[in-house]
């Protein structure tokens, strides 16, 4: 379908497509096999200016909105969700500074993020604080001119690879959600180190690692926004980032559909290409229908969110659920259409199916997203 992109949007799509075709697709199987971080590809992405899409123009970016990020991420995910996740994590990690940071903080960090000279990461999840973010145990205590952080963050995307981390820590543990604040911790800060690197089912090229803060001393000016406003910033960050995760589902499902149709046209059984059988045709048709419906919702949601509406959370959650459940279904069906070949590592669809699963889990599980939609409906109709 024609979504009537502007010239700049089309340029973003074309650029991301070139990166995907020339750099990501030839490398993805090996990165997956070796659990290897795609450093060289992220450098190519930086040279192509894709990291600058989401940074305001006054800080060296292109000043694009969520919709532009969605377009880039969809194309990158068509190549590899692991690589696209590593790209996305830098946006997620710097959103708190963009939303709540001081001018000085923006001056300090945003130009490097835009040029891709430094990457960011977002440190929220802990062993006992996943869906229930209020269970955070990491603390930050004032000490003279410094903040002192203690705690361990878990499953942090780009952990050990990024240079800038937005860390959520409790500044007033007794105040619950109102006691959380966000801090920028930089690679090399005293008392800051990296722990276990996870061995994952999918998105294996992305780095997922522990962040350990042991009497980690950082200057006072690393507090992002006012003390105690951390949770509000976290919620705003996730509202902005979820359409991006949804777009990973769109790109991934597109890749799976492309593989499935191409295979079905070539594979001959009972003397005919299997695409001529109605059972296969209907599966492919359903995949294409679901995909296009998902794409339309994600694009509409991203544009809606760019207008800063009041019901941002609901729309953001809706598109994340729909697109990622769809991606799980479409990639599973793609494996089914390729049959025995689909199950083998020689073909790319088994990786796509493994990669799809995380989309239903990270950046808020799809159950949590449904909670958000349900709670918003409850409020709207009261």
């Amino acid at each position: 379908m024609d979504y009537f992109f502007t010239e700049q949007q089309q340029m973003i799509i074309d650029t991301a497509r070139e990166i995907t075709n020339e750099k990501i697709i030839p490398a993805r199987a090996e990165l997956d096999e070796k659990n290897q971080f795609p450093r060289a590809i992220l450098e190519d992405i930086a040279k192509a200016d894709l990291f600058s899409i989401f940074v305001p123009e006054e800080y060296g970016g292109l000043g694009g909105g969520g919709f532009e990020i969605v377009l880039a991420m969809e194309e990158l995910a068509r190549g590899c969700v692991g690589v696209a996740t590593s790209f996305a994590a830098s946006a997620l990690g710097i959103f708190p500074v963009m939303i709540a940071g001081s001018n000085e903080q923006k001056q300090k960090y945003l130009p490097d993020i835009a040029s891709g000279a430094r990457w960011a990461a977002f440190g929220l999840t802990e062993a006992n604080a996943g869906s229930d973010a209020a269970g955070i145990r990491t603390t930050a205590v004032e000490d003279g001119d410094c903040w002192v952080l203690n705690g361990t963050k878990q499953w942090i995307t780009n952990g050990g690879e990024s240079q800038i981390y937005s860390i959520v820590a409790m500044t007033d543990p007794n105040k619950g959600p109102r006691g959380a604040s966000i801090f920028v911790v930089e690679d090399g800060d005293p008392g800051f180190s990296y722990g276990k690197k996870e061995d994952k089912m999918g998105i294996r090229s992305s780095s997922t690692r522990e962040l350990i803060m042991k009497d980690c001393r950082i200057p006072r000016d690393r507090l992002v926004g006012r003390r105690g406003t951390g949770f509000i910033t976290v919620m705003k960050t996730l509202d902005l980032s979820r359409p991006g995760i949804a777009s990973l589902g769109i790109g991934l499902a597109q890749a799976a559909l492309d593989e499935a149709v191409t295979y079905a046209k070539q594979r001959v059984q009972f003397g005919k290409p299997i695409i001529s059988f109605q059972a296969v045709q209907h599966m492919l048709a359903d995949m294409a229908i679901q995909l296009e419906a998902g794409r339309a919702l994600v694009y509409a949601a991203a544009k809606h969110i760019d207008s800063h509406p009041k019901d941002m959370s609901k729309v953001s959650s809706m598109c994340k659920v729909f697109a990622t459940d769809m991606a799980m279904k479409v990639t599973t069906d793609a494996v089914q259409i390729l049959g025995g070949y689909g199950y083998m590592k020689e073909y790319p669809v088994e990786k796509m199916m493994r990669d799809a699963k995380i989309l239903q889990i990270y950046e808020g599980t799809n159950q949590i997203q449904r909670n958000v939609v349900g709670q918003e409906l409850n409020k709207e109709y009261s």
């Binding site: 340029m11 973003i12 650029t15 070139e18 990166i19 020339e22 750099k23 190519d44 040279k47 192509a48 200016d49 894709l50 600058s52 899409i53 292109l62």
Partner: protein
């Protein structure tokens, strides 16, 4: 460092077809691209500029639509593009082309380093780069697979050979032609594409470069294409199988049958 890169617009090799009636390349409806080797030459030039500073100028001899590859080169990091275009250049072989490019280089003036792709994928002659160096009386190395060191005064390169590589050092100015192993070309950047869209491409005619009409186009081309044809299909081929003795028997029987 003032660097010049020569680029050519060629039909995309993925789409190449022969017109069965005329036996010439069917160019209609075939997408044009920057000659792939030239992309590597451009990437090397941009990488050297990033290290040493300076400018990268791209030049192409071709019809007006060749402007597209110059804009693509600007999107990939070149500073400016020059199109040498004139009806009088039509029909040029590598001799006339190297003359035309040499006159262009002399008109633009002052380059420290000239980079070309090893060859164009349409003509496959690999003669224009070396020809240009000879016309300009510049030292040159063809088939460069790596630049090891580069300074304002000299460059040290590896030349790809069948059984390894040679290490050669040249004083600047000099000319190099490069192979694909030299680098991984970058994808054109968003800011580069925006710059390329607005960039002014300088156009030079035969008169502007002071070309002798006898040395350009068909008149200046000693090579004439007499005939283009598809080779005859080879005769019947058979692969024998079985033990060595059985295969020999089959071969002998086959030869006898044809005597």
């Amino acid at each position: 460092m003032k660097i010049l890169v020569c680029v050519k617009q060629v039909p995309d090799a993925k789409d190449v077809r022969l017109d069965p009636k005329t036996n010439t390349l069917a160019r209609e409806g075939v997408e044009s691209i920057m000659n792939p080797y030239d992309r590597h030459a451009l990437e090397e030039a941009v990488a050297i500029r990033e290290k040493l500073g300076g400018t990268v100028t791209v030049v192409s001899m071709g019809p007006p639509q060749a402007e597209a590859v110059l804009r693509e080169a600007i999107a990939c990091g070149a500073d400016e593009g020059v199109l040498v275009s004139d009806r009088a250049f039509a029909g040029a072989d590598t001799w006339a082309t190297s003359y035309t490019l040499a006159k262009t280089v002399q008109t633009l003036g002052g380059f420290d380093l000239i980079l070309c792709g090893k060859q164009a994928i349409d003509g496959d002659t690999a003669q224009v780069g070396p020809g240009l160096a000879c016309r300009l009386r510049l030292p040159y190395v063809a088939c460069v697979q790596k630049t090891r060191q580069v300074s304002a005064a000299a460059i040290e390169v590896e030349r790809m050979m069948d059984d390894g590589y040679d290490v050669l050092r040249l004083p600047l100015p000099a000319l190099l032609t490069v192979v694909k192993d030299i680098n991984e070309p970058r994808v054109a950047s968003l800011k580069g594409k925006m710059k390329a869209k607005k960039a002014e491409i300088r156009h030079l005619t035969a008169a502007a470069i002071g070309a002798d009409p006898q040395c350009i186009g068909l008149a200046g081309s000693p090579t004439q294409v007499v005939r283009v044809f598809s080779p005859e299909p080879r005769g019947d081929r058979r692969i024998f199988s079985g033990s060595v003795d059985e295969q020999v028997d089959q071969l002998v029987a086959c030869l006898k049958a044809h005597l």
